[in-house]
């Protein structure tokens, strides 16, 4: 069977039909986002790898039940969250919960909410669509917790340049997140539902309750 292009609009349908070559393409489109969901739940790289693999295996096994009209990303995200929780429970049974790294966001008593998963998914997806330079600057500033002055030293550019680039980068990021506009009181599920049809290529977590 011919290789499937990552941007193939027929990818969800090919996946649903059981085309084995579509697995790699689906991974290339959604693997990092699925991994991010798993990491958000588990806070451990090795376990997140396991949960990511289980997500794709389970998705493949359930491919026949997938409706290609739905956003593939949303479907995968829901599977990823459940797979990660399963991995956590299995590890807890075998190792004892105290052995799992509880640093920074690890699931301790309750898994992250659907809304939290949604936030990570959407923000990560937006970041991946930014130019590398913008993404790196935002990473240094928020994840690296560097000040503008420290970023200037790190990148060997003037502080004023850092400030102007940072402003532009955040403005682009805001633009990419603009589709999250919602009416007051709207729920994530409603936002998701509203965006489903426009989200043929890349989905967001489904409103699992």
């Amino acid at each position: 069977m011919a290789p499937v292009a990552v941007d193939d609009p027929g990818l969800p349908a090919r996946f649903a039909s059981g085309d084995p070559d579509s697995v790699r393409a689906v991974y290339q489109s959604y693997g990092r986002l699925v991994y991010a969901v798993a990491y958000k739940v588990l806070g451990d790289a090795g376990l997140a790898e396991d949960a990511t693999q289980q997500t794709f295996v389970q998705a493949w096994r359930a491919a026949a039940t997938y409706d290609p009209e739905r956003a593939l990303g949303a479907w995968l995200s829901a599977i990823a969250r459940r797979a990660a929780i399963d991995v956590y429970r299995r590890e807890r049974r075998h190792r004892g919960v105290e052995d799992i790294d509880t640093h920074e966001g690890t699931l301790v008593t309750q898994p992250p909410s659907v809304e939290q998963i949604y936030d990570v998914w959407e923000v990560r997806r937006a970041l991946e669509n930014l130019p590398d330079q913008d993404r790196e600057l935002i990473r240094l500033q928020h994840y690296g917790e560097l000040t503008h002055r420290e970023i200037a030293a790190e990148l060997a550019i003037p502080v004023g340049t850092v400030k102007s680039r940072s402003f532009r980068a955040h403005k682009r990021l805001a633009g990419l997140l603009g589709h999250l506009r919602a009416e007051p009181g709207a729920t994530v599920a409603r936002i998701h539902d509203a965006g489903r049809n426009a989200d043929a290529g890349k989905g967001r977590p489904h409103g699992q309750r």
Binding site: G31, G46, D50, Q53, D101, H103, V123, A174, A186
Partner: protein, 228 residues
């Protein structure tokens, strides 16, 4: 973060998000943007899967298609499964388990080292009000907030309604009080704001009065920098 994008075309909000605020924001707006900043600081947003995971997943799906057992992807799981599937070789199990425990200990030890909490530090200099004063400060991120340790010298003890107070200050001059104390030798304080946003640490002389604002009498001053 619902409605996050609704106001993002406003330059003041973008400026706040980019760490260079240009105007005060409504508390609700600030809270909304702080939530987004929290997501941007989440490791899950930045972690990358190993490149080899793609091939392992394609292989695993192929195994599942053929009805074969699927090999686990994560190294931690390999340990668990090895322990489950070979109970009939006790000595080998002991050896494997010992090696696994060692590996897990090393892995978690190394992971712990790699994931050390963010830390900032600064040398503190005495101002004109206390030219002989000096000190060091370290700020360590914990789940409860920022743990701040000041070790100072050259300042007299203050009692009887007089005391010292430490502050963190951001580029806009906003002061966040982080604690009061009587002497500076070795003080542990806590802050709920990050030194990344509030990089300047000051210590002021204060007198107990109705007004709890800074006296403006700064005796120690330093700008914190990330150390790891």
């Amino acid at each position: 973060m619902q409605g996050r994008g609704a106001h993002m075309d406003n330059d003041d909000r973008i400026a706040y998000l980019s760490g260079n605020p240009s105007a005060p924001l409504e508390p609700d707006t600030r809270a909304e943007l702080d939530q987004l900043r929290g997501v941007l600081a989440d490791p899950a947003v930045w972690v990358e899967p190993p490149p080899a995971l793609e091939d392992r997943i394609v292989t695993a799906v192929a195994q599942a298609t053929r009805g074969e057992p699927v090999s686990p992807a994560g190294s931690a799981t390999v340990t668990t499964i090895a322990r489950q599937r070979r109970p009939w070789i006790p000595y080998a199990v002991l050896g494997v388990a010992a090696a696994a425990v060692l590996a897990v200990v090393l892995t978690f030890s190394l992971a712990g080292h790699a994931k050390q909490s963010a830390q900032y530090a600064a040398s503190l200099d005495g101002t004109k009000l206390a030219p002989s004063a000096s000190g060091q400060v370290t700020l360590t991120r914990t789940t409860s907030g920022w743990k701040i340790r000041i070790q100072g010298k050259g300042l007299p003890r203050r009692d009887g309604g007089e005391y010292y107070e430490a502050w963190l200050k951001n580029a806009s001059g906003v002061l966040v009080p982080i604690g009061t104390f009587n002497q500076v030798d070795d003080v542990t304080l806590w802050a709920g704001v990050s030194p990344a946003d509030f990089p300047t640490l000051t210590v002021t002389r204060q007198v107990a009065a109705k007004d709890q604002a800074s006296s403006g009498q700064v005796v120690l001053l330093g700008v914190t920098h990330r150390t790891h």
